[in-house]
Amino acid sequence: MSAIVYVPGDAAARSLGADAVARTIRDEAARLGLDLRVVRNGSRGLMWLEPLVEVSTSGGRVAYGPVAPGDVAGLFAAGFLTGAAHPLRQGHTDAIPWLLRQDRLAFARVGVVDPLSLDDWRAHGGGRGLDAALAMAPAAIVDAISRSGLRGRGGAGFPTGIKWKTVLDTPAPQKYVVCNADEGDSGTYSDRMLMEGDPFTLIEGMIIAGLGVGATKAYIYLRSEYPDCERVLLAALDRARAAGLLGASVLGSGRAFDIVLRRGAGAYVCGEETALLESLEGKRGEVRFRPPVPAQVGLFGMPTALNNVVTLGSVPAILADGPDAYAARGVGRSRGTLAFQLGGNIRHGGLVEVPFGVSLATLVNDYGGGTASGRPIRAVQVGGPLGAFLPASALDIPLDYETFAARGAIVGHGGIVVFDDTVDMAKMARYAMEFCAIESCGKCTPCRIGSTRGVEVIDRIRNGERRPQNVALLRDLCDTMTGASLCALGGMTAWPVLSALEHFPEDFGLRPAAAGGGS
C-alpha cells in the first residue's frame, strides 16, 4: 500500500505556498523511489500552521506544519512518512487540543477527506442525512429542521424551518433552492472552507432542502473572489451527476434535483437575498421591497428557499443524527454549533466550530492566542462590516444571537476580527461609511448619499473642526440611515460607526463624556 500524504488544496493554504510543497513532496518521493499518493484535502482550519501536511500512519494521521518547500527533504530524512519526530511535528492531528476541543458537525469532514472523492465522503459519514431524507415525507423533513432549532448562518439568524415551511406551503409550478455563497462579510471564510473542503456536504444539504420544500432546481450564487471554490464545485457537481446524486432521479428515488453554479461579479450587496435573486435573473443587484418574501415570491417569481452555505451544510448532520442531537447543543434560542472564524491581528487564526454560548474571550484568547503583534487587544469586530466594534473589556460576553442583539452587536456569519492597540477607531468608523458608499445599491437616498456625507463628517471630526456639532450631525445621519434604509447595508452601517464613537471617543478627539451615549 502506498503512503498517503495530505497537502491542503484550500485557498488559504495555497496562499502560503501549499502547491509548491505538494510538488516538492512528489518530486522528493520520486527521487527516493517511494510509492506515495498526495491528496489535496481541505484545510483543518489551523491557519497559522498552513501549509499543514499530514501523513496517514498505522496510528492515525500525524501533522507537520507550517511546511515550506525547503523543509520537505528534511521531513523525508527524518521519516515523517511513519510519523517520526521533527521540529515541525504537531502530533496526531486528532489530538491537537485546538481541534480536540471543537464540536465539528458542518465541518466534520473538512480537512479530513479528499474533497472530490464520493467514496471518501461516504466512508466518513457523508450521505446519511440524504438517505434518511429520502425515506421521509417533505413535511417531516421540514419539521426535523424546525425541531433542530437551526437558524440562518448567513447573518440574519432567521429560523430555517419556518422559511422552508413557507416554501413548502406555497403552491407553485416550480420552486427553487438557492445557496447564498456570496460570503461578502470581511473576516469570514467558513463558506469558502466548506465548499473547498467538503463540497458534497453542501450538495447533500441542498438536495435535502429540495426534497423538503418541493424544489427540483437550484442555484449556487458564488462570489467571484473565490475561483478555487468555483473549480472544486464544478468538479463536484459533475461527479455528483455522474453518480446519480443529482439529475432526473436522485439516487434512484424518482425525484429530480439539479444545481447550476453562478458566479457573482463583485458587489457586496448581492449577498442580500433579494439583490442576489435580481442578480441571478441577470439584472442589477438592487434590493427588492418586501413583502413578499423570497420564500413566497423569489427567483423568477417562484417560491424560493434561499440559504447560506453553512446553513445548508448543517442540514445533513441534522437529518443523519436527528434534530434532538443538534438542538441539545447551544444556549437559549441559539441552537447547535457555529463555525467561528478568527481573523485580523490574531496569533492563531482559523476556524473554530463550537456550540453557541462560547465567550469571545475563549475564542480570541484561548483559541486565538491573542494578537499576532503581541500587543494588547483593543477592539474586536464580530459579524462583518456591519457588526459593532467591541472593546477589550467586553470580551466576556457569550456568543449567541440574543445576548449579542441585547448589546447592540451581531453574531452574523461568525467572523471575528481582532485589532491591537495601534488601531485608529475613528479611521475604522470612516471606513465603515466609505464601504457603505462604495457598495450601496443606490435605491435609498440615506444609504447612497448619507454614507458619503458620513465620510465627510468623520473627516471633519478627525480634523478637529467644530467637533460637538459634527458629532451631533454624525449621530443624526446615523439615525436617518438606520431608520430609512431598505436593507441592512444602509440600515446597519451606523453600528460600527456609533460603537466606535461610543467605546473609543478619544480616537475622535473627544473626552469620554463628550461622546454621549452609554453602554
Partner: protein, 166 residues
C-alpha cells in the same frame, strides 16, 4: 501620479468569435446576462463597449439595460487591464494587519494610484474587499493567484517574478 486616459482602444482581434461563443452558450439560459458577460470577459480580459449592443440584441434587452448591469458590478471592465493585475484587500481584517501601508507601498513602488492602469500598461492596481483569507492577512491577488501574509518585501518579490502556478 500618472493615471491612464485611453483615447482609443481597439478591441482584441478575436472579439467577434468570443462574443459569438458567449452568446451561443448563454443567451437561452434564464437570467443569462451575467454568465454571458463573464464569458466574454474571461475570454478577452475586458468587455469592449462596442460588443454590448450585440449582447443586448441577443438577449432581447435594451442597450440601456445591458449598460446598467455592466456598470453596476465592480468586476466588469470596459477598458483593458494592464498586463498584470494586482488587487490588494483593504477590508477590516487586512487593515488590522497593515493593508493601508501595503497599499501605500504598492503605489510608491509601482509609481501609480489605486484604481488605475499604469501608462505603460504593465500594471492595474485595485482594491478588493475580502478574499476569504482573513486569518492570513494581509491578502493580495496577483493575476488571480491569492497570497497571504503579504509584507511589503513579499509584495516586491511577487511583483518581480511571474505568478506561481501548479
Amino acid at each position: 501620479m500618472p493615471t491612464h486616459t485611453r483615447l482609443e482602444v481597439t478591441p482584441p482581434p478575436n472579439t467577434d468569435e468570443v462574443v459569438q461563443q458567449a452568446i451561443e452558450a448563454h443567451s437561452r439560459e434564464p437570467g443569462g446576462l451575467l454568465p454571458l458577460l463573464h464569458a466574454i470577459q474571461d475570454g478577452l480580459g475586458w468587455l469592449p463597449p462596442g460588443c454590448l449592443p450585440r449582447v443586448a440584441a441577443a438577449l432581447n434587452l435594451s442597450r440601456a439595460e445591458v449598460h446598467g448591469v455592466v456598470s453596476f458590478y465592480h468586476d466588469f471592465r470596459t477598458e483593458p487591464p494592464g498586463r498584470r493585475v494586482v488587487r490588494i484587500c483593504r477590508a477590516e481584517s487586512c487593515q488590522a494587519m497593515g493593508a493601508e501601508a501595503l497599499v501605500d507601498h504598492a503605489c510608491a513602488r509601482l509609481g501609480m494610484a489605486m484604481h488605475s492602469t499604469r501608462v505603460d500598461d504593465a500594471f492595474t492596481l485595485e482594491p478588493v474587499y475580502c478574499l476569504g483569507n482573513c486569518a492570513l492577512s494581509p491578502s493580495v491577488t496577483v493575476d488571480g493567484t491569492l497570497y497571504g501574509k503579504v509584507t511589503p518585501a513579499r509584495l516586491d518579490v511577487l511583483l518581480d517574478q511571474p505568478a506561481e502556478s501548479e
